[in-house]
C-alpha cells in the first residue's frame, strides 16, 4: 500500500518530466480522482500540449495521443524497471519532427533496460544499437538478417 503510493508519486513526477521533454514544453499530470482517498481513487491523465488549452484526452490528435502514451510508458518503466520491452510500431502516428524527438529520447534518456522496437521509421532505426531485418525472400517464409551498429560502424552478421 505504502508501496503503491510511492510508486504513483514517482510515476507522476516522471510522467510530467518526460512529457515536457517529448513535447518540448506543455504540461501533463497524473491526478488522483480523490486526493483524500488515495488508495481507492482512480487515476486521471491531464495533458496540455505546448500553448494549447487543457482538454479531454479524446480531443487530442492521433500523434499527440501516441506521444502522451509514450511519455507515460517511459515514466512507468523508469519507476518499475522491466528487464526488456517489446514495442511494436509505437511511433506509427508520429510526424517527422516527433519521430526524431522520440528517437532522441530513446537513445539518450530511455529508462535503462533492453528495448526491442519494431518500426518503419528511419529516425527510430538510427537510435538503435542493432538492426534486424525481417524479409520474405520466399513468399510466406520469414527470414532474419542481422546488422549490428557498433563503434566501428556497421557490420552485417
Amino acid at each position: 500500500e505504502k508501496n503503491f503510493l510511492e510508486t504513483i508519486s514517482k510515476v507522476k513526477a516522471n510522467f510530467s518530466l518526460i512529457y515536457g521533454q517529448l513535447f518540448e514544453g506543455g504540461r501533463a499530470e497524473l491526478v488522483l480522482t480523490d486526493e483524500d482517498n488515495p488508495l481507492e481513487a482512480g487515476i486521471e491523465i491531464i495533458a496540455q500540449p505546448p500553448g494549447k488549452k487543457q482538454q479531454h484526452l479524446s480531443l487530442l490528435s492521433g500523434g499527440e495521443r501516441a506521444l502522451t502514451a509514450i511519455a507515460l510508458l517511459f515514466a512507468i518503466l523508469r519507476v518499475k524497471k522491466s528487464p526488456f520491452s517489446i514495442l511494436d510500431e509505437i511511433d506509427a502516428s508520429l510526424d517527422e519532427a516527433n519521430v526524431r524527438r522520440f528517437a532522441d529520447f530513446l537513445k539518450k534518456h530511455a529508462p535503462s533496460g533492453q528495448y526491442i522496437i519494431i518500426t518503419h521509421q528511419k529516425a527510430t532505426m538510427s537510435a538503435a544499437d542493432a538492426l534486424y531485418g525481417v524479409t520474405m525472400e520466399e513468399a510466406g517464409v520469414s527470414k532474419i538478417i542481422s546488422v549490428k551498429f557498433d563503434e566501428e560502424g556497421r557490420e552485417a552478421v
Binding site: 510508486t7 491523465i45 495521443r65 511494436d88 519494431i118 537510435a127 544499437d129 542493432a130 517464409v141
Partner: protein, 165 residues
Amino acid sequence: MYLKRLEIFGFKSFAEKTEIQFSDGISAIVGPNGSGKSNISDAICWVMGEQSIKNLRGSKLEDVIFAGSEKRKPLGYAQVSLVLDNSDGYLPLSYSEVVITRKFYRSGESQFLINNNECRLKDIQELMLDTGLGKEAYSIISQGKVDEILNSSPEQRRLIFEEAA
C-alpha cells in the same frame, strides 16, 4: 537480465529454424509489411505463456503453427525458445542462463520446458509474473495499441498501477 536469444521454428511465418541474437540495449526490427516482425513479438508473448489466441491475432490454437505457403506444406508443430541472460540473478533460478521453451503440436499436445526440464505452463507464467515481465507489466506493447493506456477509465488505470506497484 536481458533477452539474449530467440529461437523460432514453425511458429507462424517462421517455417525455417530461425535464431535471433539480441544485444542488451536498443534493437530495431525492420522490414516490409507482412514479413513477420509482429510475429516475432507474438512468439515472445507465446513462449512467455500467452494463452489467449485472440491476443496472438489467431482464432484457433493451431493458428500459431506454420500453415504452409503456396510452395510449402504446413508444419506439424510450433516451437519457440527464449534464452535469458540471468547473470545478475534477476530470475529466482540458480542458472546464469535460463531457457524457456514452448512447443505446440497440431494434435493439440503442448510441451513446456525451463532449462530443458519439462514443466507446466503455469510454472512459466508464474516465473514471468514474479519478475514483472509481459503485457501487464507494460513490457510488451502490441501494434496499434500504444494509446490503449489512455482509453482506460480512471478506476481501471488504478488497478493497472496497483499491479505494477
